[in-house]
């Protein structure tokens, strides 16, 4: 009998998980469609059509409209737009590099941004975890105070301020690292941007790890583990940290998004040929097509990350899923 009830509840649980995942996927798709709709409307509102040439007469214009499908009902146009965006056909750039397909611009820039962003997340998460862990284990000592000060500063000071300070001190004065990005010295010149981007992630993770660890260390199961004679690193890493890590996954998602915002300015400061600096350039030179394509890419990445994190979290910790349901 007990076996049977267990089986039932497991079946029920996996059913809830499946329902939860389906719901999240559908919401994400819907959100993406809403974004595409907004972008599509914006494209229609933008001043300056590509066919504003004075030399064109009406019939030529009509031919062009027919060629690009602009004479069809809006809904058909929107359908084609969605298809194009999803298959990576973003159209061409108007101002930045005339008539270059945007997908080609992205091909070289996206990997650089992802590399630097990824390095920042990895570095921030690792250092933040260590700082938070130290602060929690040495609670209420000078170690804790220092870790807290570092994390408060990291949360409060914007990443581009760090970027400016670092590039001034280590790039301009000490000349340890290159001040501007250099594709030939990829590793050395990505160090400063990654560090300045990782500060916020590091600080947030440190704060979160500290509070989670303090709570876990105070729990009954830690007391039990301790009284069973488990000690030292096994106690901290296998029993405490593993439980504290679960909620940390959730803060990572918004942090990655903050990183995207930060990368815009940091890439500009270090002259990194990445997506962020492309967006800044596009905004400043009114290259609508590029801005809108990048807006779509950022949104798609954001939605994707949120979806993965939510599903991961729901699978790992059933309590969250149930709380969200109710």
């Amino acid at each position: 009998m007990p076996e049977r009830t267990k089986k039932n509840s497991v079946g029920k649980a996996s059913k809830i998980v499946r329902k939860y995942i389906i719901k999240r996927v559908l919401t994400s798709i819907f959100t993406l469609l809403v974004i595409l709709l907004v972008l599509f409307i914006l494209m229609q509102l933008m001043p300056g059509s590509p066919f504003n040439d004075e030399k064109l007469n009406d019939s030529q214009r009509a031919t062009l409209y027919a060629k690009y499908g602009l004479d069809q009902p809006v809904i058909v146009q929107f359908g084609r737009y969605v298809k194009n965006m999803l298959t990576g056909d973003f159209g061409v750039s108007y101002n930045i590099s005339k008539n270059t397909p945007i997908s080609q611009l992205l091909k070289t820039r996206l990997p650089i941004s992802i590399k630097i962003g990824g390095a920042a997340v990895a570095m921030g998460a690792l250092v933040g975890l260590i700082l938070g862990l130290l602060a929690a284990l040495k609670h209420d000592t000078w170690v804790d105070t220092i870790c807290t000060i570092i994390s408060v500063i990291g949360v409060s000071v914007p990443s581009y301020v760090f970027a400016l300070l670092l590039s001034y001190q280590f790039g301009f004065r000490l000349k340890i690292f290159p001040m501007l990005f250099d594709a030939k010295r990829m590793l050395a010149s990505s160090f400063l941007p990654s560090v300045s981007l990782s500060m916020f992630t590091m600080a947030s993770i440190a704060r979160f790890t500290r509070s989670e660890m303090l709570e876990v260390l105070d729990s009954d199961y830690m007391l039990l583990a301790e009284s069973k004679g488990i000690s030292g690193s096994s106690l901290i890493f296998r029993h405490a940290l593993r439980n504290a890590l679960i909620p940390i996954i959730t803060v990572l998602a918004p942090l990655i998004v903050d990183l995207m915002t930060g990368s815009l300015v940091v890439e500009k400061i270090f002259a990194i040929p990445g997506v962020g600096s492309l967006l800044v350039n596009a905004i400043q030179s009114n290259d609508y097509n590029v801005v809108i394509s990048l807006a779509f890419i950022y949104s798609a990445m954001y939605i994707g990350i949120m979806l993965v994190v939510d599903i991961l979290y729901g699978v790992i910790d059933p309590r969250i899923r149930l709380a969200k349901e109710g």
Binding site: T27, S28, F30, T31, L32, V34, I35, V38, L39, L42, L45, M46, V152, I153, V155, S156, V157, P158, Y160, V161, L164, L165, Y168, F172, R207, F208, R210, S211, L214, E215, V257, M260, T261, L264, V265, K268, I269, L279, V280, I283, Q284, N286, Y288, V291, I292, A295, Y298, S299, Y302, I303, M306
Partner: protein
């Protein structure tokens, strides 16, 4: 088990005890008994204030914010310069302050690095400007950075007020209404929120600025579209906790209107988390403005904000680093102190809540 058995076996019932009169005499220990006056009941707010002022970092944050507000009010008027008037003859002058210059610092000299090495120059002496003082230096158009910094601080503080207002009005009402009515209303409102939350703030702000003219109103409008989500989540969660409680039922039974229950009965009970959330949203708003100005979408020239000052200083920060120092320091202080206050308030308002 065994122990209790042996204990039961050795137990022998004694004679029942008969109380005597001496058992009922007063002990006369009035000296030991005292009415507890130390823990007289305190009002919630008194408690909160005590806890808040016991946290040194929070008090420091409060003082810094008050100082910055004061400087934003009087700062632009004391140096004798206007924030927008240009004086190209006095461009790129290093900081120089009366009195302190005799100590050898902030005397208007700056170290220039050239190809042949570094050399110390004093532009004031070279241009024979003996009676000219730019406390924070002057920028490449000869504008006073002191005045501009504090004018920019005003912008950031206005943004802070706007963010508070948006949080309180839009976010709070949205969350409270969604949580209180529940059912279909809640489902629809939460789906809208999920979609809004699914769009990165960066994208919303960028797109908005493509169609609208850059300026203060546009920035506030952009914040309005993005800032309320966090607050509405908290308000909804708190509402769900409270709405089944007896005092709400009592109010309903007395015939109170939903509007009255939401804003007069429940709102005062959730004010703690609400204030904390507001304080945390202020640094985010300030950061958003500074970020937009840095990218070139912020306050239009000749007006300035901390973000646009940092952006200006960035263009010449290897040759004249002092131009970027003042706005960066003020900005960092502003963000830091609001964060410290928010931390302190959270602990003061809800000591049981875990830190995060």
């Amino acid at each position: 088990m065994g122990k209790t058995k042996t204990a039961a076996a050795t137990y022998t019932p004694q004679q029942p005890y008969t109380p005597v009169d001496s058992d009922f005499v007063l002990k006369h220990n009035e000296g030991e008994i005292a009415i507890d006056t130390n823990f007289a009941s305190q009002s919630f707010w008194k408690d909160v204030t005590t806890r808040f002022f016991h946290k040194k970092s929070a008090v420091a944050g409060l003082f810094i914010v008050l100082f910055l507000i004061l400087m934003a009010i009087i700062g632009p008027h004391v140096s004798g310069y206007d924030y927008s008037s240009q004086n190209l003859a006095n461009k790129n002058l290093a900081p120089r302050i009366q009195g302190i210059e005799n100590l050898g610092i902030l005397d208007g000299s700056e170290t220039m690095s050239t190809t042949t090495g570094t050399k110390k120059t004093n532009a004031y002496a070279e241009k024979k400007l003996y009676d000219t003082f730019y406390w924070f230096g002057s920028d490449r158009y000869g504008r006073d950075i002191w005045t501009r910094t504090w004018t920019g601080t005003r912008v950031s503080l206005i943004i802070a007020v706007a963010a508070t207002f948006i949080d309180m009005v839009i976010g709070l009402s949205y969350g409270l209404v969604s949580g209180y009515f529940g059912g279909k209303t809640d489902i629809i409102m939460q789906r809208i929120l999920e979609v809004m939350n699914g769009i990165p703030r960066l994208v919303i702000v960028t797109l908005l600025l493509l169609i609208l003219k850059p300026g203060m109103l546009t920035i506030i409008f952009a914040l309005m579209l993005t800032e309320w989500v966090g607050m509405s989540r908290i308000a909804r969660a708190e509402m769900l906790k409270l709405k089944e409680q007896e005092f709400v039922l009592a109010s309903k039974t007395l015939g109170a209107h939903s509007f009255h229950i939401i804003f007069a009965e429940i709102l005062p009970n959730i004010i703690g988390p609400v204030i904390t959330q507001v304080m945390f949203s202020i640094p985010t708003a300030i950061f958003t403005e500074a970020f937009l100005s840095f990218v070139g979408l912020g306050i239009p020239v000749p007006q300035c904000s901390l973000g646009s000052l940092i952006s200006d200083g960035y263009n010449s920060f290897t040759t004249h680093p002092y131009q970027i120092v003042a706005p960066i320091v003020v900005m960092a202080l502003l963000m830091l102190s609001f964060n410290l206050i928010a931390d302190g308030l959270r602990e003061a308002l809800d000591p049981k809540m875990k830190e995060m």
